[in-house]
């Protein structure tokens, strides 16, 4: 599959971020990476990615703050929250704040993520 869509991955755990990046690169996406929410929104402002994947619990600026910021500054860009905090409250809050989708960590089959991205891209 060949596509020029850009995916931004915001995740503080470097090896997890790299694993997702490697997979999505192989799927044909252009990848941007950020280690926390603050770096993430800088990348968004600079590169306007097509999709944003974000963790929830991160230092400096968390995922929920990223989702909220995007609602104000880049509401057309879909966000997928990926978090180990699988409780209903976290899911509800993320979706209410504007996230398009919530995936629970660990993602044992990355093909699911591929499908999720295609879905939010429409």
């Amino acid at each position: 599959m060949s596509t020029s869509k850009t995916v931004l991955i915001i995740e503080d755990e470097v090896k997890l971020r790299r694993a997702v990046a490697a997979y999505l690169e192989d799927s044909g996406y252009r990848i941007l990476e950020a280690v926390n929410g603050r770096e993430g929104i800088a990348r968004i402002a600079e590169h306007q990615p097509d999709v944003v994947l974000t963790d929830l619990r991160m230092p400096e600026m968390n995922g929920l703050e990223v989702v909220t910021w995007m609602q104000q500054h880049s509401p057309q860009t879909p966000v997928i929250v990926i978090s180990g905090t699988g409780d209903q409250h976290a899911v509800d809050t993320s979706l209410a704040a504007g996230a398009k989708m919530y995936l629970t960590k660990p993602i044992v089959d990355l093909a699911e993520l591929d499908v999720a991205i295609q879905k939010v891209l429409g």
């Binding site: 997890l16 694993a19 997979y23 960590k105 660990p106 089959d109």
Partner: protein, 259 residues
Amino acid sequence: MMSLGGLAAGMAHEINNPLGIISQAAQNIERRMSVALPANQKVAAELGLQLELMQAYYQRRELPAFIQDIREASSRAAKIIANMLQFSRKSEMERKPVSLAEVMNRTVDLAASDYDLRKQFDFRKIEIIREFQPDVPELPVVVVEIQQVLLNLLKNAAQAMAERPSGRKPVITLRLRREEKYAVLEVADNGPGMAEKVAHRVFEPFFTTKSPGTGTGLGLSVSYMIITQNHQGFIRVESTPGHGARFIIKLPIPDRASS
């Protein structure tokens, strides 16, 4: 002091990331070993490497099977984590007075249609006897949680009877009665039963008598938390080897429901 549930949730959450790294790295290796992926073909061509030969080597040395083992094991661990997280999940779910007899009946229907259950045995071949006393008032419980506990007990009973058939027709008896300020629910089977030392440990997290990969050892400990912490009740087991097992749940009847 931190509760067992809080500790379990904290651990579960911390384990998720390394677990994700393991399973996702394995998946990347699998994909990057493939002959079909264009990116692999490109790099192989740059290096003058014959991917088909490399693939043949992988197969001969069983590398795909080892990678598959990593993926399956991490997926199993992920299931355990998901179960552990249930320990801590606060019961914000709605409680409304319900008929426990109805909950028990519905759970039997659920068990009969459960795919996992059907894979191992036919639940419909088990005779279900219901002995429900009519004087039990409706109780405010979290229905999905009580169903989870009952389903778990039904599954365990059915599994035990299927794994070690006694020659008798498998029977599960469900009982519901009132004992003073408690509603008492029972799930009894006529299966192999269990030794006293097993009965003492069945509610411990990670204790299991099932073969590896079959049980997580968390079903009954989660049930225990649901009954004791979330519903302020009691759960215990009575069993004699060769004569089946009987799980007894007692749920308090609030004053206003007792009239």
